[in-house]
Every structure is written in C-alpha cells, then in structure tokens.
Symmetry: C2
Subunit: 476 residues, 2 copies
Amino acid sequence: MIYLEVASRIERLIEKKSLRVGDRLPSLRALSREQNISLSTAFQSYYHLESKGLIEARPQSGYYVKFSPTDTFDEPNCCKPAREALPVSVDEMVSSVYYNLRSPKLLSFALSAPDSSLLPVAKLKKSVIHALNHAPDSCLGYEHIQGNVHLRKQIARLSFNWGGTLSEEDVVVTAGCMEAISFCLKAITKPGDAVATESPTFYGIFQVMESLGLKVVEVPAHPQSGVDLNYLASAIKKFKIKACVFVPNFNNPMGSCMPDENKKQLVEMLAGYEVPLIEDDIYGEMFFGKSRPRTCKTFDKSGLVLQCGSFSKSLAPGHRIGWAVPGRFIGKMLSLKRMSNVATNTLSQTAVAHFLQNGRYELHLRNLRKALHTQSLLYTEAMTRYFPDDTRITRPQGGFALWVEMAKTADGYKLHKQALRHNIGIAPGQIFSSQGQFYNYFRMSYGLPFSAKVDHGLKTLGELIEKQRDKPTARR
Amino acid sequence: MIYLEVASRIERLIEKKSLRVGDRLPSLRALSREQNISLSTAFQSYYHLESKGLIEARPQSGYYVKFSPTDTFDEPNCCKPAREALPVSVDEMVSSVYYNLRSPKLLSFALSAPDSSLLPVAKLKKSVIHALNHAPDSCLGYEHIQGNVHLRKQIARLSFNWGGTLSEEDVVVTAGCMEAISFCLKAITKPGDAVATESPTFYGIFQVMESLGLKVVEVPAHPQSGVDLNYLASAIKKFKIKACVFVPNFNNPMGSCMPDENKKQLVEMLAGYEVPLIEDDIYGEMFFGKSRPRTCKTFDKSGLVLQCGSFSKSLAPGHRIGWAVPGRFIGKMLSLKRMSNVATNTLSQTAVAHFLQNGRYELHLRNLRKALHTQSLLYTEAMTRYFPDDTRITRPQGGFALWVEMAKTADGYKLHKQALRHNIGIAPGQIFSSQGQFYNYFRMSYGLPFSAKVDHGLKTLGELIEKQRDKPTARR
C-alpha cells in the first residue's frame, strides 16, 4: 500500500526529529506532486498519521506535526538482579487486585487483552455455527487429547511466519496459554527447583510457579532488548537453574522484543547447559514493526525449547484455546494433559480451525496490529500531557501494555486502590515481581480503543499520581 | 405414568422369580381388566417390558417372560485389601489401552460414556446458538474464574435432587470432572501423602494421583454396597490416610451404590478423623431405581466433603463442563483454578446454562435413564447367552458399565488386544487397580444402544473368552 509507505517515511522523520512538533507539513497538493502519488493517496497518508495522533489538520492552514513518539518520557530503569532463588507467593495479591476489576462500569487499563470491539465477533460466530452444522454430533463428542487435527495443522502453518517448519504432530492444544505453560513447567521441573524469569514479568507465570512449588530467580530485563544474557549465564551456575520461562517477543509488561541475535545466543547457551526454555510467544503476532520477529524456537536444534501460544489475546479470550510445542518433552506433556482434564473443548477447537482455514486470521491480525499500534501512540501522547515530568514509560514494539515508572515516593498498589475509587483499573507493579520490586511502577494496557473517556481517565490517573507526590507514602 | 407403574410391578415379580422365564403373562384384555387400566395402557406396559428385553410377544400366542435380570451370572468377587500405601503408575498402560480406541470402525465397549444418539444434539445446538446471539460479544470474553453465574445457579438447583441446599457461591465450574478432582486433590494433599480409593475404581483417579505424586491405599468395595467401611476405619490409622476419593453412586466400573446409611456413617467417621472426602458424583443422576440416591455431601456438616460432578456423561462430553463443590476448601480451589487455566470456556458454560434454565435437562435425563437401564438389561441378557458359565458380572444400579470377572486363568489385557483385532474395544481390569489386581476382569460399557452389531460383538467376545480358557496364559 503506497499510502502506508509514504506515511511510515513521514513517521520516521518525526521520530528522528527531522520534523519537529509544530512544524508545518507540505500541502496535499505539494505532497502529491513531490511523491508522485495521487491526491487521494496523499490524503490517505495524512489521514493515517492523523488517526495515530502524530499530526493534526488545522482549519484553513494545513497539516502540522502534533506529537513525536520519541518526544515523551524516558524509558523505565532496569531492576536489580536477584540475590537468591526464592519461593513465590504473589497469588494473594493478584487475587486481591483482580477481585474488583470485573465491574462493567470500570474503565479497565488492567487487562492485557484486546477490547472486544477489536475482535472479529461476527466472523468467528459464523465459524462456530459452521462447526455446529458440519461436525459430527455438533461437536458433542470428546476431542483427541492432543487436539483437533485441523487446528493443529493451522497452528503448525503459523510457524512459517517466524521461520519454523512445524507439523501437526509437534503441537498440543491446551485450554489457553496458562495451561500450556503450567503443563510444560510441570513436565520439566520438580518442586523446589529454581526457575529463571524476566524481571518484570507477567504475574501469571509466578502464579503457575507458586502452584508447582518452584523457586524463582528474577533476571533483569531491558525495556528494549529483554533478558540480560550475561547475568543469566552467571545465574544458571550460581543458582542451579533448572528451567527458564521467558516472553522474548513483546514481554508483558514492557513490550520489549529480544533481538533475534540474542534469541539465537540464548538458545545456544541454554543448550550448552541442557537447561530447557519455556518460550511464551502469546504476543508474537502483535508486532508494530515491518514483520513478525523470530522466536527462540526458530533457533532450537536440541528440542529444549518448549514454545507456548494462544488465541486468547488475538482472537477469542473466552474460547480458551492455546497450545504448546513442547519439543522433546511432548510425551510427558500429553500424559499431563490426559491426567488433568483429558481434552480441550471440541466446539471451540473446530470453530477456530475453520476460522483459520478460511484465511480470516491473517486478515484480522493485520487490522488488529494497526489498531494496537495506533492506540499505543495515542495513549502515550495523552500520558505525556497528563503525567508528572519525572514519569518514565516504555515504547512498546508490540503487544498490549505500557510499563510506567513513577517517582520513588509513589506506590503502585496504593494508586491501584485510589484509581478504583474513580472506576479506573490499573495493574500495580508489585504483582510483576516476586521479590517486592517495582512498588513504584504500574502497567497500563491500551487494549481499549482511545476515546474521550479514555483521555479523561488518563487525566484522572495523572492527577492521582501528582497527589501521591505531594504526600509521599512510607516505603512498604 | 400408570403404564410404568404396572410394568415395574411385573418387573419386580420377574426379578423375585414369581414369574419365571417361559411363563405366560396375562393377555392384554385380562391385564386391562385385572388392573383396571385401558387396553392401550396395558399395551404400553408390555411394550415397555419388551423393549427392556424382559418379555417377548409370540405370534398368535401372547406374551411370555424372556429374561430375568437376576437370572444371570453371579456377581464378581471383592478384591483383597491393600497391604501398603503405594505410589501409582497406571498412566502408561491406560495410554496404551486407549491409544487405539479412537477408530470410528471400532465397536466400542471401552468408553464409560453415552453414545451420541442418546444425547440431545439438536436441542443443545439451539442453546449454543442462543448463547451466540444473546450473550455479549457472542461469548468471546473471559468468563469469571468461579464460572458463569447462571450455570452455577442451575448446578446449585440440581442439589435439591439429592437433598442439598447449595447456592451458586458454593460451586466452582471446571473443564470437566477430572479437572475438578485434580484441583480438589491438589488443594488437600501434598506429594507423598496416602489417599484411599475404592478397589476397583476409575483409572482416571489413579492418573490424577500419579500426576500429583500421591500414594494410594485401595479399599475393597462390594459390587452392591461399595466401600468396606470397617476396613477403611482401620486403614486410616494404619496408613495415615490424608484424603479419600470415592465414587459412592454407581461406582465406575461396578455400578454399585453405597446405601445412604453407609454414606452418613462414612461422612461422620471421616469428620471424626478430620480426613476430607472427594466425592465423585458424576453418575449420580443416571439411576435406574425410583429416585436419585443421596450423596455424601447431603450428610456433610463440617465442609470436609468436596463434591465433583460434570455434564460430560449426561449431556455434552466435548464441552468439558464439570464442577466442584469444595466445601471449606473453596478458596484454595479457586486459587488453583486461577493459577492453572484462569477460566473455563465461556460459550459452553453459557449454552449449558441456557439448556438447563429451560428445563430441558430434567426431561433429557428421564429419557437417558430409561435408555441406559434398558441397555444394561439387554447387554446382560446377551452376555448370559454368550459368555462362559463361570463368568461373573455386576448388576449395576445406575451408570454406564458392567464389570466382568472371568476365570482365574483369563487375562483382561490379552483379551483387550485380541478384541481389538476384531474391532471391538473393552477396558481391561488391570487399569482399575494400581496394585495389579483384576487381571482377569474387564469393564463393558453399555453406552452404545443395543443392536444386531452389538449382539454380534458380544458373541465374538464370548468366543474369545472361551478360547482363553482352552489355552490358559501364564500369570503376568
């Protein structure tokens, strides 16, 4: 698409400050002439940049640069490395945080998931009805333990996007990504083992570890490039790490993306130590760049990478369809599945398979990526306006979340409680560490399309953060 | 229904041998006069008994007793009590048995589940479509961790049938009964603990125990009355039993039903020792008698009974909807659910709730019970004809299965392999014990409606058993 190509070149000029906020852009006629494009394509380019919040049209005057994605707060700081492997207990706090986050009145920035307006509700419904009408017994019977074979084929085909060559025999369908991670971790560890995670990382990973009685070693992760590989190498020996659980692509909460070179290095290093890696790739398809990043599985030669994914973030949260590609641990994984809930929902598997078979997924993903990228910029722009100057936020390269660092005197959990009184939900930083780090952080999901209500919510949040600065709390 | 009342009185006369096989029954006219019922009601009564295989119409001659449910083999023997608490490892054998049991060509007597022809396929489909059309976002969003509130209300209402007074707050929805048992067991034990089961019992219970690293103490169970309470009392002290997992109503594979008085005694005894009981009540609604038996939960005053159930056997196996009523352990149970797969399928929960709200479940269950009772009698009658004289089989009071004891020289696992070559699936006795008992037993499910094909399959099975007698195998 020419208009996108032109728009993205203008975007890069804005990012590099060649065009600064307030600068006037060429007129539509000038743009059309200079770039040798039609007037309507020129208009589409500006319209696209406008919808992303980067430029604005001023009546009778033309187009002006409104916001630069780099013209915002600094990025958050890295955390301190772990001093010991510790047992996990975050579930109680996670549970207390999410207990009140279900009210429909709530403006929720707390769930790292797409708003349903971004999902293909009507088309997926068609696929469910197709499954009801065409599958034997309207999908009433048990599905295979390993999962619907058509669905596994489609999941295997998705591997082409990240340079993989999976077959349906490599894939095990699960009830969501959490279940996949849970079975994978159980397959490769025993209670008391030390497992490495990124810091910060998704609280669900800590919950699974807590339920399996594992100890955690938090590895500092950079907001742009992810896991600190040097620290990891030393930690493996020091803490006798038995497995790693990482989210290399668009880590939740930071949106960081481990460079492909680092992925290769990580996989080779772990193979040397014979340490398995669980790769949570749930956000891999939600990239804002030109193409889907590779995965660690791409570089896996020894079968030690257990990749997990899901349609929960990209298509259908409530259908609970995820999967694992457990490499050399597939036998153990199937046995755990059989021993815990036998098989995954037949109807949902059949419907999702049908949706993918018809090429609807790729089309939907293209729209979803565009919407999420736009939302991430609009949220960032508003937060830059409303939040105190010493705020730091990430510049996510994909996914659903912004990771916000406040002044050292602020408290994320307290902010969560105050925001709740204003019907605003956020996820306090405390639940993204098992070692009490990130007390002055919080995660903002931009899964909800930007609107006046969202803008007002961000303004309120900014005011609450400002108030915390006036009355610094005692450190917890 | 008058015709059922008359038919069931005749059935009891046949069972008590007041009417013997070959005896002529009163003519329709005589029955109508004697019982003061219409001719058509008299016909309905005989038609009902005929469909159950108990009487037959001989042309130009009238109705004759064809088969008495008591006129069959003796019941199987009880097993030996456990001498020690042992770790479990049945999964490998279960997996090898079920690996080949999925072929559509197979005449399957191996799955303890209803054939899809006995399920309300069309009506449940309507409920799914209703959910798609009426629920927000066609059920794409995450459901509450505890489960859909309307579904929990309906499950709570079902408790009225067994003398319970549950509310929706007591119920946790799970992905099938296995998951409910798995979370309940995990909530109340730690690896290495000794847990009591019935012997024989459902292999899935052993699989869950194996995955949790538990030890099993098998308690002898009687084909009519279930668990031997005296032995259990001594075993609790001797083996330091930390929990029990029993199937008091229509135990799989025996179809036994623990008398309500025993249930009460069991619950009181366990309360005295502070030992929790997981009650798998998955077959409770599939009774052949006049009314639904009570459950152990009925008599639970201390919250130590964790009841588990499911719609997998009665309504929709593939939808994977089960539940737990975990008593005082509900907090821990919810936490385990949250930490493993977050929530259960939204669409299936909404659809099943709708099906129940419309009173369709009770109606369907009435038909299902009748069909299963009839099938159990027809299978028994055919097996009586085809199986060797020293066979012993149970007389199930509900559920889906007959438990068959062969001569001491026979081998269930070998029979399973031989039957497979004839495209017949059975479940060998070996997988119903973790202590190598029941090698000369197998489980026959009568979930498939009786037909000429079933009759022929049973004949073939009889011949295979007969052959094993000629060439006794070495004891494994």
